[in-house]
Symmetry: C2
Subunit: 126 residues, 2 copies
DNA sequence: TATTAAGTAGTAATGATTACTATTACTGTA
DNA sequence: TACAGTAATAGTAATCATTACTACTTAATA
């Protein structure tokens, strides 16, 4: 991956964002710096930055993909009414912390990411 | 929500599924019972069943939405290579349990769902 | 500076999901 | 049981987030 002004701008915009913007929102924000950047370029760079581990994807309630530039480990609270995603920063994810923030928890989902046994075995065989 | 054969079939198929099928897969499975069911009907019923809390949505790595009929609280492991979603059943989500299952964890995401302060205040005012 | 391949802008294509409409089928009431 | 009202359906068209494509541009390296 060699350097490009467009990719740098995408990463910079995402790191400066306090929300969890979608590709089209990032596109609009980057356009203030690079007016003729293409939406396809934003998508491609978001994909690359994700693959290289510079950014992550956030679970959301709409069909669009939401991105995040802050890699420090934290929790997300997703409001089922306004669909807003709130960052929650605390070491141990106690519901008390959420209540303190005025966030009324109804359910929770935890997902672990990695490599399963099958795939690991296949790598070792190759 | 009044009863319908199509919705019952969608729910039944999803509850009988050990995987986390997408709308089109559910569509194919329901077709063996109701050959002329429409894909739109499957989508509409999945939406209603989700809104009513009979089923849930599973985070995945593709652009399709994956559904789940098993409401008992458990954890998901998502393999970044084959994109397969594994159900993990244990009280406290210890990585030891995952290692035991041959699942190599690289990262984790936790999302809480509920109603935020703003939305709760708005309800109370109405 | 010449070469080479990665990156880009602009546009077309894809495909999951949603919307629409005429018709069908539940469900409560007389 | 017949009827009315309305939710649900099948089939199809439309939407729109994302990806693919292509001619051109730019970064990196010798």
């Amino acid at each position: 991956m060699r350097s490009s002004r467009q990719r740098d701008a995408v990463l910079e915009v995402l790191r400066a964002s306090c929300d969890h913007p979608t590709a089209d929102v990032i596109f609009e924000r980057v356009r203030s710096q690079i007016p003729n950047i293409s939406l396809g370029t934003v998508y491609r760079n978001l994909g690359q930055l994700k693959d290289e581990g510079f950014i992550t994807v956030v679970e959301s309630s709409d069909t669009k993909v939401h991105y995040e530039g802050n890699l420090n480990e934290h929790i997300h609270f997703l409001c089922k009414m306004c669909n807003n995603i709130t960052d929650v920063w605390c070491q141990s994810p106690v519901p008390a912390r959420l209540a303190e923030m005025g966030l009324q928890v109804e359910s929770q989902k935890t997902v672990y990411y990695g490599v399963c046994k099958n795939c690991r075995d296949n790598i070792e065989c190759n």
